[in-house]
């Protein structure tokens, strides 16, 4: 006995295919197997995201695969030096379609303040990238925003790169309040 059923409505042409796409995308977005490519200090924040406090598994992305062949989502966490770039591209090429890439932090997104001979100015110079998460390092909430943005993109079938909007600083008002108190 089938508990749930995909209902096919309307004309035969086209309509059912879209539903199947939507179903597949829905399945994909909640079962992202991830490959963490962790190279630098952003890794600490990534551990926090993957750990129980912020808990990636709420979004179905808790299973890290340390073989790129089994992974859907490549987290590039940290600075990518020129010397690492071939390794990163090779990892990316080994992943199976459909594959997604998330640039975690400023260094992975644009090279950060390493404006010199060492660093690739953003992983999009080497591999395609779906979501950029700004921050140095990003807060775990930022990384979760990035994951939700990616899920949204997967559901819509949208491969245009997106940037996570920085959230409002919750302590900003507190700081101005304290400044006001300090000046009589």
């Amino acid at each position: 006995m089938a508990k749930s059923q995909v209902t096919l409505e309307g004309s035969e042409a086209g309509f059912a295919t879209t539903r199947l796409d939507a179903l597949l995308n829905w399945a994909r977005k909640y079962s992202l197997f991830q490959y963490p490519f962790v190279t630098a200090c952003c890794g600490m924040e990534f551990m926090s995201v993957a750990g129980p406090r912020f808990d990636l598994s709420r979004f179905g992305a808790e299973a890290p695969r340390f073989s790129p062949r089994q992974a859907d989502l490549l987290w590039v966490v940290g600075t990518i030096s020129q010397r690492q770039a071939p390794a990163l591209r090779r990892i990316y090429e080994q992943m199976m379609e459909p594959k997604y890439v998330l640039a975690f932090g400023t260094c992975a997104s644009c090279g950060g303040f390493y404006d010199n001979y060492t660093t690739v100015p953003g992983i999009d110079k080497v591999i395609p990238c779906d979501v950029y998460v700004p921050g140095c390092p990003p807060r775990p909430e930022g990384a979760l925003d990035g994951l939700l943005l990616l899920q949204d993109k997967i559901q819509r079938g949208d491969r245009k790169p997106g940037i996570v909007k920085p959230r409002e600083d919750p302590l900003k008002d507190l700081v101005t309040l304290r400044k006001k108190e300090a000046t009589p």
Partner: protein
Amino acid sequence: MSQLALDRLKATFGDAILETHSDFGDETAVVRPESWLAICRFLRQDPALQFDMMSDLCGVDYPDRVPRMEVVAHLYSLSRRHRIRVKTRIGDAELGTCELDSVTSVWRTADWLERETYDMSGVLFRGHPDLRRILMYPEFVGHPLRKDYPAQKAQPLLEYRTEEEAGLTLEKQAPFGPDEGMSFGRRTFTRSEEN
């Protein structure tokens, strides 16, 4: 702490010690490059000194000086618990010749440290068993910590994707770029600057 080492050096090598000082509690000796190996061996073997650990070795480029390159060694004695910094100055104004005796026979650590100094500053160590780059890739041209290396010159090991290939602009969008809130942030990367 190790004024003793400076005194011993001056008594033993005399003219080969160009200058010494103890600023900020760091005993420092500047020595002639010809005596570099002999002085290092003496510091390691003298029973009163026993500098048995080479903490660091690096090159410093002073573009307005001749000799232009300064090689600095930081030594520590695990048994005597004292430190010394030994410097020597080599190379002409263009750094055409920039050679120094290798001290790998004195400290095994010097192997990799000298490779790093060669990689970053281009000091050639005579008698080094395997003088290759250690941090940069073999395809890299030049020595990045020399002051005449252009600060923003990159030599990508992997060719960057072009915008036609990517099918979208690779210019950085907000909030990336100079207005990211860091005064020391990188300039916005543009293709024209790369060429």
